[in-house]
Amino acid sequence: MNVNGGAQSHDVEPRTLLVHYIRENCGLTGTNVGCDSSSCGACTIHVNGEAVKSCTMLAVQTEGDEITTIEGLADGETLHPMQQAFHECHALQCGYCTPGMVMAAVSLLDEQPNANEAEVREGLEGNLCRCTGYHNIVKAVLSLSGGDK
């Protein structure tokens, strides 16, 4: 598979979860394991451009696919606009949910570039922030949306 623009090839057991493959075989530990039961969204990454929960996929299911993780968003030292917006809006407290939240938010605006506040809140329903810092997260996403604020 292709991860963040580079080929990755490893022999793994079929039961290896995608999130463990990314963290342990690819060494990309920005993607977090939270609930490990597809509820919290901390493990959200993109497969072929769409946000998915990598704890609920087997690595073998994505053979040949394009994977993007939080490490693949920035352009060198320049943060991705969504990362910059999270920084500017103080959209993180402890930061554990942040990689998944950013990946879900990027996918959300790809699909709904003019999402309004209700659509942003609905669109991020698969991501939990246990610091409950939702207001600033929503503010950060809305700052990049072309829709009514």
Binding site: K53, L58, E111, E125, G126
Partner: protein, 275 residues
């Protein structure tokens, strides 16, 4: 949580999947999007010896205009159904139910066929299939056969599909002028329904499918008959819990589920133009 070990086979086509099913029988489970099966395997509630991955069989992912019906390939992802112009204009109840499945990440991976073939009474879309009187196309070594939605769901996580059959297509008659409502009660965003209801009112025909009110997805023939005989929404909805045996769990008792079924059915009927 890591699943138990299994042998992994990837099918490149429907034919190959059916042949592998013939080879491994009930030791094998089909893996489509994996959003019902993988969680069960992680909890070790399922431990199939062989996984047949059909997730990359691209020609089973489509939404086609079949003239009087819409034909949906079994591997079509929830997200594609949710945003499909054909589905939204011709069978909008299915789009409404699909928007309530899990969350965006789940809908990006989960497939319509995987969801209905799992036969989970708590799933959202089977209730819409029942209300819409969908037809399921099962393909096995000797060809294809059609299964009516009323005959498809046979028990808890059980369907009429044989061990060597693959669900390949779902056909739903167009009902562009029908009034409809999908009602779901849950405690938190993205949770499973504690109870849900799919309501379709198409002229004189009424369809009512209930979520989590029995060991399998069910239709409420009693409510449908009451509406047909001219009952008000409130009176018809009183029948919603008649003759069904909902499960009791940490979220709800039997009595509470029966109450929710009546309330959600009434709301859905009112929203669908039954006064």
């Amino acid at each position: 949580m890591i699943p138990a070990s299994f042998d992994y086979k990837r099918a490149g086509s429907a034919e190959e999947a059916i042949s592998l099913l013939g080879e491994y029988g009930d030791d094998a489970k089909l893996l489509a999007g994996g959003h019902s099966l993988v969680p069960l395997m992680k909890y070790r509630l399922a431990a199939p010896a062989v996984i047949i991955d059909i997730g990359k069989v691209a020609d089973l992912s489509y939404i086609n205009d079949g003239g009087d019906h819409i034909a949906i390939g079994a591997l079509t992802r929830h997200r594609d159904i949710e945003i499909s112009e054909l589905v939204n204009s011709q069978i909008p109840l299915l789009a409404a139910a699909t928007r309530n499945v899990g969350d965006p990440q789940v809908r990006h991976r989960g497939t319509i066929g995987g969801s209905v073939a799992h036969g989970d009474p708590a799933s959202d879309t089977p209730s819409a299939m029942l209300a819409l009187r969908a037809t399921f196309v099962a393909t096995g070594p000797n060809g294809s056969r059609e299964i009516a939605s009323d005959d498809f769901f046979s028990g808890f996580l059980e369907t009429a599909l044989a061990d060597d059959e693959l669900l390949t297509e779902i056909r739903i008659n167009k009902v562009p002028d029908a009034k409809f409502s999908f009602q779901k009660f849950n405690r938190r965003a993205q949770d499973w329904a504690i109870v849900g209801a799919s309501i379709l009112v198409n002229g004189a025909d009424t369809g009512v499918g209930l979520v989590n009110m029995d060991s399998k997805p069910i239709r409420s023939a009693a409510v449908e008959a009451a509406v047909a005989s001219g009952a008000t929404a409130a009176d018809a909805a009183e029948q919603a819990a008649e003759g069904v045996e909902p499960p009791a769990d940490l979220n709800a008792s039997v009595e509470y589920r029966q109450h929710l079924a009546r309330v959600l059915t009434r709301r859905g009927l009112l929203e669908s133009g039954v006064s």
